[in-house]
Subunit: 189 residues, 6 copies
Amino acid sequence: MSEHAVSRFPVPALEELPGDIRAAIETVHEKSGFIPNVFLALAHRPAEFRAFFAAHDALMDKSDGLTKAEREMIVVATSAVNDCLYCVVAHGAILRIRAKNPLIADQLAVNPWKADLSVRERLIVGFALRMVNDSASVTDADLQALRDGGLTDDEIWDIGAITAFFAMSNRLANLTSMRPNDEFYAMAR
Amino acid sequence: MSEHAVSRFPVPALEELPGDIRAAIETVHEKSGFIPNVFLALAHRPAEFRAFFAAHDALMDKSDGLTKAEREMIVVATSAVNDCLYCVVAHGAILRIRAKNPLIADQLAVNPWKADLSVRERLIVGFALRMVNDSASVTDADLQALRDGGLTDDEIWDIGAITAFFAMSNRLANLTSMRPNDEFYAMAR
Amino acid sequence: MSEHAVSRFPVPALEELPGDIRAAIETVHEKSGFIPNVFLALAHRPAEFRAFFAAHDALMDKSDGLTKAEREMIVVATSAVNDCLYCVVAHGAILRIRAKNPLIADQLAVNPWKADLSVRERLIVGFALRMVNDSASVTDADLQALRDGGLTDDEIWDIGAITAFFAMSNRLANLTSMRPNDEFYAMAR
Amino acid sequence: MSEHAVSRFPVPALEELPGDIRAAIETVHEKSGFIPNVFLALAHRPAEFRAFFAAHDALMDKSDGLTKAEREMIVVATSAVNDCLYCVVAHGAILRIRAKNPLIADQLAVNPWKADLSVRERLIVGFALRMVNDSASVTDADLQALRDGGLTDDEIWDIGAITAFFAMSNRLANLTSMRPNDEFYAMAR
Amino acid sequence: MSEHAVSRFPVPALEELPGDIRAAIETVHEKSGFIPNVFLALAHRPAEFRAFFAAHDALMDKSDGLTKAEREMIVVATSAVNDCLYCVVAHGAILRIRAKNPLIADQLAVNPWKADLSVRERLIVGFALRMVNDSASVTDADLQALRDGGLTDDEIWDIGAITAFFAMSNRLANLTSMRPNDEFYAMAR
Amino acid sequence: MSEHAVSRFPVPALEELPGDIRAAIETVHEKSGFIPNVFLALAHRPAEFRAFFAAHDALMDKSDGLTKAEREMIVVATSAVNDCLYCVVAHGAILRIRAKNPLIADQLAVNPWKADLSVRERLIVGFALRMVNDSASVTDADLQALRDGGLTDDEIWDIGAITAFFAMSNRLANLTSMRPNDEFYAMAR
């Protein structure tokens, strides 16, 4: 397998894929101009592919409560904790676009305490880091502190659930050695 | 909220739920004799509920390659690393049933190196622990060692993907302080 | 040596043992209906056996200050940190009996922050976890906080000393791969 | 309480102590020229005092298998891991005497990989460090490697049991903030 | 102090600086087209500034043995371990230039095990990670393994010394909250 | 190479050294009565030697703000975290001299929370430990707390910069297995 393979596991040809998965891939291809490798790597397992993107879209494709940029901040900061190359690079690009800020993704990936964040963003990212590093000891008092800081219960759930989803996603990417498309690295710099 | 609440977040009444979710809950209720709290806690977010159980079923409701007992071993051992009370207690019960072994769940939860495992089971659990603790540094050589030990690529994917799914699941349970039903504790002892 | 051996080290026959040790073992056999394996495993070293159980009894067979249930909570929570199968399983059983609570042992072993504990019990378990994980940095101010929470100095000593004793005990059990008797797993569920 | 107190807990006057404890203290006083503070601090709890020193003497006052110097090496190296001031300073002094080596205690306390150790001593200290840091994952294969390196099963038990005893001892010293006597620091330099 | 300050500590005006420091800054300004903030932040302490850049240049401005790109790889990989925003961003830019590879800096910063490295580069980066995370336990055998892999003793020293220098540099940047110039982020993408 | 070598790397003969380095070594030889091995080990790389001692002297050879004893406390406490035998032993000796206290070096090296420190010294050592263990998350609020405790900004910089310098120094000593001169161990006891 070449060092630059999309995945350590087999990647099916588009024409072998079930129609709905092929359609999803064609849609993202048109929209992005290239096929993000996560679609190809996970297509190896169609049922898991469908559930993965259903979960992803339920958490990431909305902007009530947390903005789309705030959601991507959670992804980048927590994926960096898990050393997930695909997620940091791909979602770093999306974050730069969503936040209209060319610096924020690298800042969050390298050192979230030095990132240019608002007080609200700092609260969001701080809880995401807690959830990725030590969710076990999160108490009612921790949640109350977030409410006192101005977050709603729906926002708190979203922070936790996005962090949880990417705890899965990061491990899938690390398992498969999922390669970020070269396009992501320089996007929106 | 009572100390014995199912979740820190609102739990919808069954009659308020979308039909498919209500049906899924009624099915599990009939089969188990009670409603496992994970169904109630996640029903707070129907779209996430659907994706969660779709992913769960895609990984856990099959027995080609890894047996169902082996799948549950992965869940118990890795959920213990994440201190997830719900997953260890509920899937501990399922593991005792699947493995027809009343001791194995506690052994895996407390000290997987002391559990009564076959060589194959030890290889499976060992890789699951690697994936939960440090997936980032998993190399091609690590996968080759698993193949050399007799695991197929599909089994390796399953170990990684089940560990990944429960890395998400553990965090959701810790976020919501999801309470295991009392029934699980003594089941199949 | 069978996978189900009591210990990795030789286990003497009862009739070879010094009279006092044999008598102690016969007493516990009568009381429990079986011989807990810790008695057999440590009988390999009579002088260490005597000192071990003298220390154990001095800390665990009393109920002034900390109740017997509270003492067992400390054992289960801290032995889980050290991944000690024997202590979690055997003392888990004793805790279920002492606390008349079939759930509390698993709760404390898996996630002490989610266990059904009173404020006082939470204080006790919290300090025990501190003592097992990082006793070095315990300051006078930490002890004062426990006093402010209502614990006496004798109770504080007991929490620390029980945690210390099981830090030893856990390592002996892990050294010998001491096997919990099958009876403990289902006791008082 | 003065910053230089022997213990954070009450230290009984010698004349208040049970006769056997008083006698033990007088014996060590005569032998050493001063009373090591561990005797005073633990005298607060006579039953625990007796069990503690019985265990200590069973492990430390013999020289079959491991030499007395090798036993003290285990104490110093593992007590340093637990940041136990009393044990490192007091047993550091004893080690310098036993090993007739003024440098070895500081070397083991600061960096055991740089200490002037023989191959056998390195094996002993290495297993002690494993037992103090991660006894849970010690397998039969680990013990076999020690046997292959020339250690007997009795020596292996002693390394593990001494490490276990000082895991207790270190926590008691940290709990009580047990102060090493000034005399120990410069002894046998 | 603005969120976008160069440093948490005072930054002297150029005209207040000693002549040699001012000259050094003017030289780098001309060469780079902007003044990298590390020059401004450290100018607060002229004697430390001089020693810092003397050490830097002694290690980084040469290409016998390790190439300049290899030296920058060490900086990026180890600075990422220390979460040093300045060093990862600034030296990431330099690495992209030196290695003529727009992807390598992000790869090394996020997950060095997934980076596109040659066998030699992997050996270099692997030892650098060992030196930053746990230099204490590096043994003669570790060095021999590097020699067996083809590295010279001078190259081994350089890997260790560059890692050591940036262990200092990372802490200075974290102390001062040294801000990477915006120019670095997009350079050589 | 003998077990007692000064360094794992070549140590040049004095007469081969550049004049300035030779002079520096002769000066310290006269002053101390022996040549501290750090001078010999680093002389292998003259340019690095010069920069190292320039940085060292800029931070350690002054006593405005932090006293010389306070500076050495930082060195001993943080070098112990990094398990650096040379720095703990050599600077432990210097600290005993500077602080006119034969106990303080061992106390700081083994357990800084138990050391006989003033409130000010505790603040200084506490921040040094933070800087060595986790400089990345140091915030403006952390610095403000130090100012509120009575430290000036120049003292805060010095604590951070000394810790940073010895993070480098510890790694160089661990790389080279730099051996502390025997003389240091017993000095000023």
